[in-house]
């Protein structure tokens, strides 16, 4: 968690997932993050924009702000990162970080 805080000071939690048999499997997580809820929101919105997604190369993202806090999800066909952040967090930084992890497969702290 401290390593994550060093990169994203406003982070409250993070999870890294890989695609597995049509679903997602969590391979690493730290802090508090509602992975199931964040992915369900992504799924409810993905059909509109992501119907023709190229799973090998296209990255999709969702940012959700609600009473439960701020969640950022970035995913491609192989992996996904879910971040939970404090309100008012630097979203550009969080998105850049999440995209980097998804692209390189480097483990979340």
């Amino acid at each position: 968690m401290q390593r994550l805080k060093d990169v994203l000071p406003d982070a409250l939690g993070a999870a890294q997932l890989v695609s597995s048999e049509g679903g997602w499997k969590t391979v690493d997580s730290s802090g508090e993050v509602d992975v199931r809820w964040a992915l369900s929101v992504l799924r409810s919105g993905e059909a509109r924009l992501y119907g023709d997604v190229d799973v090998e190369t296209d990255e999709v993202e969702a940012v959700m702000a609600s009473s439960d806090g701020v969640h950022v999800v970035v995913a491609d066909g192989r992996g996904a990162v879910v971040l939970r952040l404090e309100r008012g967090a630097n979203l550009g930084l969080a998105l850049g970080y999440a995209h980097g992890v998804v692209r390189t497969g480097e483990s979340c702290p």
Binding site: G45, A47, V60, M64
Partner: protein, 266 residues
């Protein structure tokens, strides 16, 4: 496509009328079926038969039984001479020349004033149609292509104005930017997502809007209240608000992404 609509001054607003969800759905389906064509819809409701003229996918005018005023009555109420108007109506019936064209061509009313009056008349009529039980809607395609009417309005802003006067929704003070941005305030009434105001520069087709609003309603059911933005490359769509009232936007501009997050109070 930019939305240029007349500014409505004196508006009809009725607390007696209540939007009928089934009637709205039937009306919306019939309008969607005509959004790429020129046709006339006969709306058979509990209060009689009304009509909606659609010219190349845009609403030219709507008239509902129960509106009390015919278009000519509205023209008289707006200052036109009653006797002159009666003669024009008769002439129009005889020659087939639209009343509005005669009124404007003969200098009885400015084009802008007539456009505003026609818009208002159609808003009231659609509102009346959507607030009574609709038994059936018949579609009559125009044989000659276009009706060649001088004034037409995009479906979504007109329908939204009708809905907004029938349902209680808070006004939103927002000014989204982006030339290619669709942004519409949607209210959910009896489980149906209904447009109440077009906020963006672009007026979507009614079918596009209903699809977008339905998707947004599904997203909002997951979060109760807040903002969600989805992005892939430079395409994005967002929804912000709560389960009863939300703004949904879609466009290629990254501005919509930033704007919607701003609405969420981040």
């Amino acid at each position: 496509m930019s939305v240029m609509l007349p500014t409505v001054s004196g508006v009809f607003r009725s607390s007696d009328l209540r939007l009928d969800g089934d009637a709205f759905q039937q009306l919306a389906d019939a309008l969607v079926g005509s959004e790429s064509s020129t046709s006339m819809l006969s709306v058979h409701g509990d209060h009689g038969v009304g009509g909606v003229f659609i010219d190349e996918g845009r609403i030219a005018w709507a008239a509902s039984p129960g509106a009390r005023h015919f278009l000519s009555d509205r023209l008289v109420a707006a200052g036109s001479d009653a006797q002159v108007m009666r003669k024009l109506v008769e002439e129009g019936r005889r020659t087939g020349v639209p009343l509005g064209r005669m009124v404007v061509d003969r200098g009885l009313m400015s084009a802008a004033a007539f456009s505003e009056l026609l818009f208002e008349h159609s808003v009231v009529s659609l509102g009346l149609m959507a607030s009574q039980r609709v038994n059936r809607i018949e579609r009559h395609p125009s044989r000659g292509g276009t009706f060649a009417l001088a004034f037409t309005f995009p479906m979504v802003p007109l329908l939204a104005e009708s809905v907004r006067r029938l349902v209680a929704v808070e006004a939103l003070e927002v000014s989204p930017s982006g030339d290619d941005l669709t942004a519409v305030h949607v209210a959910v009434v009896e489980g149906q997502a209904l447009p109440v105001r077009v906020l963006g520069a672009r007026a979507p087709k009614l079918s596009e809007l209903l699809s977008l609003a339905g998707d947004a309603q599904a997203v909002m059911s997951n979060i109760d209240a807040g903002t969600v933005s989805f992005r892939r490359g430079n395409r994005c769509w967002s929804v912000s608000g709560n389960q009863q009232s939300f703004v949904v936007s879609e466009g290629r501009s990254a501005l919509s992404f930033a704007w919607m997050l701003g609405q969420g109070g981040l």
